[in-house]
Amino acid sequence: MSGIDCLTNLEPGRCAVVNDLTVTGSMRRRLQDIGLIKGTRVEYVQRSPLGDPVAYLIRGAVIALRSEDSDCVMINRVN
């Protein structure tokens, strides 16, 4: 599957590269501060037992994002 998709749809164990953020304001800034800018590599690490949030490996740190927030991170899958 190629093309731009949102982070929420990234499959377990897969990696992706950030393309854009569709949220604005303080959440945008917050996502950028943990390193989610265009070109950053993101890896799906672990899902919560109830399905949400999902933990991702971002620039050496494991950060959990709720689906509303990962919906705003547009990515390109890589191998």
Binding site: M27, R29, R30, D33, G35, V45, L50, G51, V62, A64
Partner: protein, 631 residues
């Protein structure tokens, strides 16, 4: 002492959350604040004094933040302090394992002030993961001193202070890196696009610096953490494991405090005779010595022998759990539940803090940004029994249900019952959060990020020993401060008469009809009311009151207590109702004061007082009456 204050130079400690900043702070100032392994621990400015070579510096521990652009209260505090208060130096504490992300903050701070010393902490953890860092190279690139430390073992700290000191004497040696921003003028970019570009420059600068500085010899250095997380947060095992962890902690607390309790009560109640003889020999009037020994001393003896051992054991265990890094995983597992209740997932963390002390849980709610969600966390914090309340639960279970047998079966069963009660309390937290967010605190859940830090091996011996001592002294101090007046009060109430009845009988009689409605009795209610200053005195007060109105005059063994309770009309319904009420009633005085201070509002303090009480009354009412139908 021969120290001269160095004209009061102020040093600020900044850094990302969870990098060991507070460990550095404690080590430099010698303050004994506990540091846990999850983000958001420091949400106020802690201040202390640090001595280095005859000079005394003021050290300010800023809240952990990822950047200085204000989104949250913590970041605002940190930024305002560095920009407006202009400290003489800023030590930026970084995590050696996650240096790239940490450098984002370092670079932002360097844009504001050049009086910076970078402290790369957790070097031991990095070494274990075969991550090597070229510290002199980093210093060269950043243009400011960089010191590697292992704050837990106090390594590197003297060198750190030396560099800070030198930066005072030689400010021109600081040549902070100048970040090159491209020229944005005239390109027709929106404000947001300019912002994005600036952030990109900062992040790629950090990335470039780290590429040359950090060497990973083991590409999968975090594989063991990932494996552990797979288990702890797995679909099948995640939740049962949380239950099991609680169960094990309570089981250790219960069985561990059994013998110390017996020993202490044997000694403390044993010397009553001698105390009485001593006072009689001194020629003290009867009313006075009975008040001192049978009133004050007995309540004190109760608190120390029955309440202290569980408190002194639970706290270190819980601290260990915190230090390992398990709590963010709990928040991760429970987040969806909080989202469904329209509250913040960080409430899981404040709830856990409430296990230690509800007042600490209230202060800890500062990690929640949204005022609405903060209030929900504060109001519902009391549904989690604090360190002073679950010994009450344990004592009731042992006294009434299982006796004080030390058998394995009994202790496991007690632990199971307590754990189930706690889970019920946690369930109530969710229910009440949901109700609040649909009624008086309407709103939508806000966004937030939860970091799952690497697991750290805690210094088990050190934490346990220090925690046990700290807790013992703390409880003893509080016992003396609160139990003495309470013991005095109950003695007077039992021995001073108005008309032909003692005050105690009158008050109990007054409260009794209402109390019976909810499965309790007047004495139990008085005990809860008098237990307002500190929850751990509720059971001692209750026992004392029963003894005063009954014929039991001395306590040789804790097992006679069951008789005492039964002879005062207790059934198992009474026992369970008392446990339910202990779980759901008004917060203690310390917590109420803390709520007032944190919310700056009498209205919300009153609501925090009323909500758990109403739930308690309702719950006990329902239980007592429904259970009564079956008997």
């Amino acid at each position: 002492m021969g120290l001269n204050k160095n004209s009061g130079k102020v040093i600020a400690l900044a850094g990302n959350p969870n990098v060991g900043k507070s460990t550095v702070f404690n080590a430099l100032t010698g303050l004994k604040q506990h540091t846990g392994n999850w983000p958001g621990k420091t949400v106020t400015n802690a201040q202390g004094y640090c001595e280095y070579e005859d000079k005394v510096y003021t050290l300010v521990d800023l809240p952990g933040c990822y950047s200085l652009m204000a989104h949250s209260a913590e970041e605002e505090v940190a930024r305002d302090f560095i920009c407006l208060e202009k400290p003489d130096a800023v030590i930026v504490v970084c995590d050696a394992i996650c240096l790239e992300r940490n450098l984002n903050l370092v670079l932002q701070i360097l844009e504001i002030t050049s009086n910076v010393v970078v402290c790369v902490n957790l070097m031991d953890e990095a070494k274990k993961k075969k991550i090597s860092i070229d510290l002199p190279g980093l210093s060269h690139k950043l243009g400011v001193p960089v010191v590697g430390t292992q704050a837990r073992s106090k390594k590197g700290l003297p060198l750190l202070m030396q560099q800070v000191d030198e930066s005072f004497h030689n400010p021109s040696s600081q040549r902070p890196i100048k970040i090159q921003y491209p020229d944005y003028a005239g390109k027709g970019l929106t404000a947001q696009e300019i912002q994005d570009e600036k952030v990109k420059v900062l992040i790629t600068t950090a990335e470039d610096i780290c590429r040359d500085i950090v060497r990973y010899e083991n590409k999968s250095y975090d594989s063991s953490d990932r494996k552990i997380d797979k288990v702890l947060t797995s679909k099948l095992i995640g939740f049962p494991l949380m239950f099991l962890a609680l169960l094990i902690i309570f089981w250790i607390t219960i069985s561990g405090s059994n013998y110390p309790s017996r020993f202490l009560s044997y000694i403390l109640f044993g010397i009553e005779e001698y105390l009485l003889s001593f006072f009689i020999w001194l020629g003290v009037p009867k009313f006075i010595y009975e008040m001192l020994v049978l009133g004050i001393y007995r309540v004190l003896a109760w608190v120390v022998s029955v309440m202290l051992p569980p408190m002194a054991i639970f706290f270190p265990l819980f601290t260990l759990l915190e230090d390992i890094g398990y709590l963010p995983r709990v928040a991760f597992n429970l987040d969806k539940c909080y989202k469904k209740c329209c509250s913040c997932g960080k409430q899981a963390l404040t709830m856990c803090m409430g296990f230690g002390c509800n007042a600490a849980g209230v202060i800890g709610s500062r990690i929640i940004d949204s005022p609405r969600e903060r209030l929900i966390a504060i109001i519902t914090n009391n549904f989690v029994p604090c360190n002073g309340r679950f010994p009450t639960l344990i004592a009731l279970i042992s006294m009434f249900m299982l006796g004080t047998s030390a058998s394995l079966g009994a202790s496991v069963l007690s632990a199971v019952i307590v754990t189930c009660l706690i889970i019920f309390g946690i369930g109530m937290t969710f229910v009440v959060s949901k109700i609040l967010s649909k009624t008086i605190l309407k709103g939508v859940p806000s966004s937030y990020l939860l970091e799952l830090p690497p697991y750290r091996r805690p210094q088990i011996g050190k934490v346990i020993v220090r925690s046990i001592f700290d807790r013992t002294f703390f409880v003893l101090r509080r016992a003396v401060a609160v139990a003495i007046p309470a013991g005095l009060m109950i003695w007077l109430m039992a021995n001073v008469s108005v008309g032909d009845l003692t005050i105690l009988v009158r008050c109990a009689g007054f409260l009794d009809p209402f109390a019976r409605l909810i499965g309790l009795d007047g004495v139990i209610m008085i005990a809860f009311v008098l237990g307002f200053p500190a929850n751990e005195i509720v059971i001692p007060i209750m026992i004392m009151a029963y003894m005063a109105t009954g014929s039991l005059t001395e306590i040789n063994d804790l097992s006679v207590l069951r008789e005492l309770l039964v002879s005062n009309g207790w059934t198992w319904i009474t026992a369970v109702s008392t446990m339910l009420f202990s779980l759901m009633h008004w917060p203690c005085s310390t917590t109420c004061l803390t709520i007032k201070k944190e919310t700056q509002s009498t209205k919300w303090t009153v609501i925090s007082f009323i909500v758990p009480t109403i739930m308690g009354v309702l719950g006990c009412f329902l239980f007592a009456n429904i259970a009564g139908l079956f008997l």
